[in-house]
């Protein structure tokens, strides 16, 4: 067998790890080709990284990763940070004071809106840019890390940020797996997205697009 000598050692282990950047079927094909050609693990590593880079570049020719990372994740993480702080602040004040129906309604509705909007945004990011999720993760982490380091005294604790990060991650996971929502859920989230800027009293048409995207791509029942 031609390839037997080259398929062991540190270089080959690095190469196998690098093939994790490729889709599973392509990973098998590439590893097989490299084992058969036996040109050395380091040259093979260059081949794998080159292929992975070309695959990434090809993905970025589409609108999807741009929309997911710059059109949604980056502004949404800034926006949701503010919402999370406001919602958690409202809930905290509610716990410290005698219950008032109006305050209770406002706090719970804001909390619900943060969680559902974060889940919806995460779902859209996961469904729209499965291959470039790393860019969306960067688009979310960078503003969070910046705000946490710059304004720790403004009540921006990691715990408060979790209010949107956890449902967002859950949404990403479901979006990557399912790609589409059922029509009922999609309409629900589109309504939530429409309500969000109204309830917060702020303009923000971009807040609507994830909900409308879900409604437009929703899974209809088979005829």
């Amino acid at each position: 067998m031609k390839g037997q000598g080259g398929v062991s050692g540190v270089g080959w282990r690095c190469l196998e790890a690098a093939t994790g950047l490729l889709a599973p079927p392509e990973r098998e094909v590439v590893l097989g080709d490299l084992a058969e050609m036996d040109r050395g693990a380091w040259r093979g590593l260059g081949d794998v990284l080159g292929l992975a880079a070309r695959r990434q570049l090809a993905l970025w020719r589409s609108w999807r990763p741009w929309a997911a990372s710059f059109g949604l994740t980056l502004p949404a993480s800034l926006f949701l940070m503010g919402w999370s702080v406001a919602a958690s602040g409202a809930v905290a004040s509610l716990l410290g004071e005698p219950a008032q129906a109006r305050l209770l309604w406002l706090s719970l509705s804001r909390l619900f809106l943060v969680v559902s909007w974060a889940w919806m945004a995460g779902f859209v990011v996961g469904a729209v840019s499965r291959g470039t999720l790393w860019a969306s993760v960067l688009g979310c982490c960078a503003p969070c890390a910046y705000c946490l380091s710059e304004w720790p005294e403004h009540g921006l604790s990691g715990l408060r940020l979790l209010i949107f990060v956890l449902p967002g991650l859950w949404g990403v996971w479901r979006g990557r797996r399912d790609l589409q929502l059922g029509l009922g859920w999609a309409v629900f989230f589109a309504a939530t997205a429409t309500l969000a800027p109204l309830l917060w009293g702020k303009s923000g048409c971009w807040l609507l697009w994830p909900g409308w995207y879900l409604a437009a791509t929703a899974r209809r029942k088979q005829e």
Binding site: K2, L31, G32
Partner: protein, 113 residues
């Protein structure tokens, strides 16, 4: 019309016929074509050719030679054959009368015209 590298891939796949797959095509392009061929260039170009309908690809059964891994087999379609022929004829036509073309002895030298 196909590009130069696409033409090399179509030609390599046609040469190898039933045995056309990534590693074998790379070997043919490098040894016969005389140019380096990275796996990245090979597979992304194959994807493009497949999207244009010029080749068909499928996964073979795993083989022992490759550590129990499958091959991505390639077959040139009728459309691919036409596209490769068109490229080849264009190269032949444009090369006629050049210093490296087949009919260079028929050219009238500029200083004797």
């Amino acid at each position: 019309m196909v590009g130069e590298f696409e033409y090399l891939i179509l030609s390599a796949a046609a040469h190898l016929a039933e045995e056309a797959y990534g590693a074998a095509m790379r070997e043919v392009i490098e040894t016969t074509g005389g140019r380096t061929c990275s796996l990245g260039a090979l597979y992304t170009t194959l994807d493009r050719l497949e999207a244009k309908g010029l080749v068909e690809t499928w996964m073979s059964a795993p083989t022992q030679l490759r550590g129990g891994r499958a091959k991505r087999m390639v077959r040139v379609t009728g459309e691919g054959t036409r596209a490769a022929r068109e490229f080849y004829q264009a190269v032949i036509r444009i090369s006629r009368g050049t210093a490296w073309g087949e009919s260079r002895h028929n050219r009238v030298p500029a200083d004797t015209a």
